[in-house]
Subunit: 382 residues, 2 copies
């Protein structure tokens, strides 16, 4: 039997987070958290919702607090070999009898009982554990109590390791290049659906798994790609796009114009840059996330076009919006190694939706953009 | 308010399936079923698990049995505009207060109560509705009874419309070309992980959303891409790969060899072809699915290398394994417009895992392959 003792995650931090949350056993099941905890994932489903017939793929990474070496994995038939090949943690693998989520749940219950782990306070990813699976666990583990594992896992993943930052930086660079290619080859009459398709093609050329491209041809604020909406001369257009590289999500927003942007549009883009500068002056370890949002809001209160402006930011990594939370109520502190998506935007009836989104890393002393700035217009037919 | 009366699906059939299942209200929530029922989906999540911070994306398509015009959609803030732009059915859209699955669930409960639909027999997709959402529904709708909607929806989608067949045929052709490109450009020393990456690149070149490529370098049956496993001269290799085109899943398996296959390997591939012919002679409307599996099993019982052989088949469409079910216990009948994936394989210790997988359409009188056969060796350095 393959046993790997070294965890790919910070085990001491996980134990502390479990203790804080008052839970004794973690059962993680989402793809991102399984990858994070084990370093592997059942291959055919690496990038994909597993819609199997009348069931879903399900596995559990089971970690008892304070006895890491007793951790185990419950997967479907054939998974032990896949986990061993990938040298995935923890190595100890039980297989369900059948390829169904209910069979994985039943096997998990059996193992928990055998190992006398069936009367614990158990953290599960409740926003994604399927209803039928949870029904079995509650029914078959009557002495257990169930809690949400998501805050624990979000906190565990909040500070990125250097290898994670490297992947995110790589992916961000690819989006930057892809969006520049689309926005400098525009022509009058393209629909926003066609432009979104071009973005997808440019992602694929760069081996970046395409997730979405919101395209907004101003004036107007509608962003879902549409066959009815057209990019016209002298109109601005933004592409706000996301992709995935090796399990990490990256996103950027860039501005284009067919011909020359109006001076109003220019002022709004300058607003994005000024807002970004004001925000980036605040981003460093130890700063409260609420103070970042407040700083941005205060900046907009004083700014000439600030009534049209908005600042949104969030942590990003294996999940699109993850810790730290950035709003005026957040209790989170910025830490070195966190990755943020920062979104500066102005919505103006006349000019449209002018928006820049960048990815930044919190460094030891401040912050660093993860791609070349790209905060100017990309012009087609200038 | 946007109202669209014409359903993109067979409403009479859905009503009949709901009646058979004894349910009065359908609440569909998966991406594939939402797309199938409405013709639209919340754009940024078209191809993607929505892992939002500590929640999931959730919407419900709500269809009361026998009163189709009272159907409605409950989505997140901003979705009404997206549904209207896509002219999605049913048009009547309620929006949750917040961008969380629990908020969508709460809004759904409110609407069901307002419309006096809260004491019905309700079908939900229990293998994918999140545990926390189901908790709210059970708690807030104490007079309702809950059933699994998946069998209803699987049966509804089993016979494909011409537009669906066209997309699946298009996607199948793209995989065929992608796999041919990889398998004719092999070289000694490539790892199976490198070959899977090449397959992903060839998919992307053809604008096919890459899902997975299982790669098996024989002898040996391990198929998850590995950096430790190498394609060697005179060894056979299969790529069993899947992709998605506009929401439809397509998959094929093709055989390659570096140099010349052994005569044993040749016999095994001939076995795949002979088995396929035997199976395709059975595939036509009105045939019982169990008889197809039995026919394949009987063929293998008589075939010289049959002890190494296996036949697997399944319906495929928006879900990877969907109706009809093909095994010796299935009660399903083949119908015109069904799409099957048929998998013919021989596992031999000496030669490896020789496998052909094709997609076929059940036509009025028989069946048709959805791509050029591709059932011969693809040779590199012959």
């Amino acid at each position: 039997m393959h046993i790997r003792r070294q965890t790919p995650f910070d085990a001491a931090k996980l134990a502390e987070l479990m203790k804080e949350a008052g839970v004794e056993l973690l059962l993680a099941s989402t793809r991102h958290n399984t990858r994070y905890l084990t370093g592997g994932y059942y291959y055919p489903l690496y990038m994909w919702d597993a819609h199997a017939r009348r069931t879903q793929y399900l596995s559990f990474v089971c970690i008892p607090r304070g006895s890491l070496d007793d951790s185990f994995f419950v997967g479907r038939p054939g998974e032990e070999e896949v986990m061993a090949e990938a040298d995935a943690w923890p190595g100890l693998c039980y297989e369900a009898e059948k390829i169904t989520s209910l069979s994985t749940a039943a096997r998990t219950v059996e193992v928990l009982k055998e190992r006398k782990l069936d009367a614990l306070r158990i953290a599960l990813e409740l926003p994604s554990v399927p209803a039928d699976v949870f029904g079995i666990l509650k029914d078959q583990l009557p002495r257990a109590e169930f809690f949400d594992a998501v805050p624990i896992m979000d906190k565990l993943r909040a500070v990125k390791r250097p290898g994670e930052v490297k992947k995110i930086r790589d992916g961000t660079g690819r989006i930057q290049d892809a969006l520049a290619a689309v926005l400098t080859s525009g022509r009058e009459g393209l629909t926003t659906a066609e432009i979104a398709n071009q973005a997808a093609k440019e992602f694929r050329k760069r081996d970046l798994h395409f997730l979405y491209a919101l395209v907004c041809a101003g004036p107007g604020f509608f962003r879902a790609p549409s066959e009815k909406r057209i990019w016209r001369r002298n109109q601005v257009l933004h592409i706000d796009a996301g992709g995935m590289l090796d399990g990490y999500i990256v996103e950027l927003c860039r501005m284009g114009c067919l011909g020359r942007p109006s001076s109003l549009a220019g002022d709004l883009l300058q607003g994005c840059r000024d807002l970004e500068k004001a925000v980036r002056d605040l981003l460093r370890p130890g700063v409260k996330a609420c103070d970042v949002q407040q700083g941005a809001n205060d900046f907009l209160d004083e700014y000439p076009l600030g009534a049209h402006g908005r600042f949104i930011a969030h942590g990003i990594g294996m999940v699109h919006h993850e810790d730290p939370v950035i709003n005026t109520n957040s209790g989170d502190l910025l830490q070195e190694g966190m990755i943020l998506s920062i979104e500066m935007e102005f919505l103006h009836d006349e000019a449209g939706h002018v928006k820049i989104e960048n990815m930044v890393e919190i460094t030891g002393t401040g912050n660093e953009l993860l791609s070349s700035p790209g905060n100017d217009w990309y012009l087609s037919n200038p």
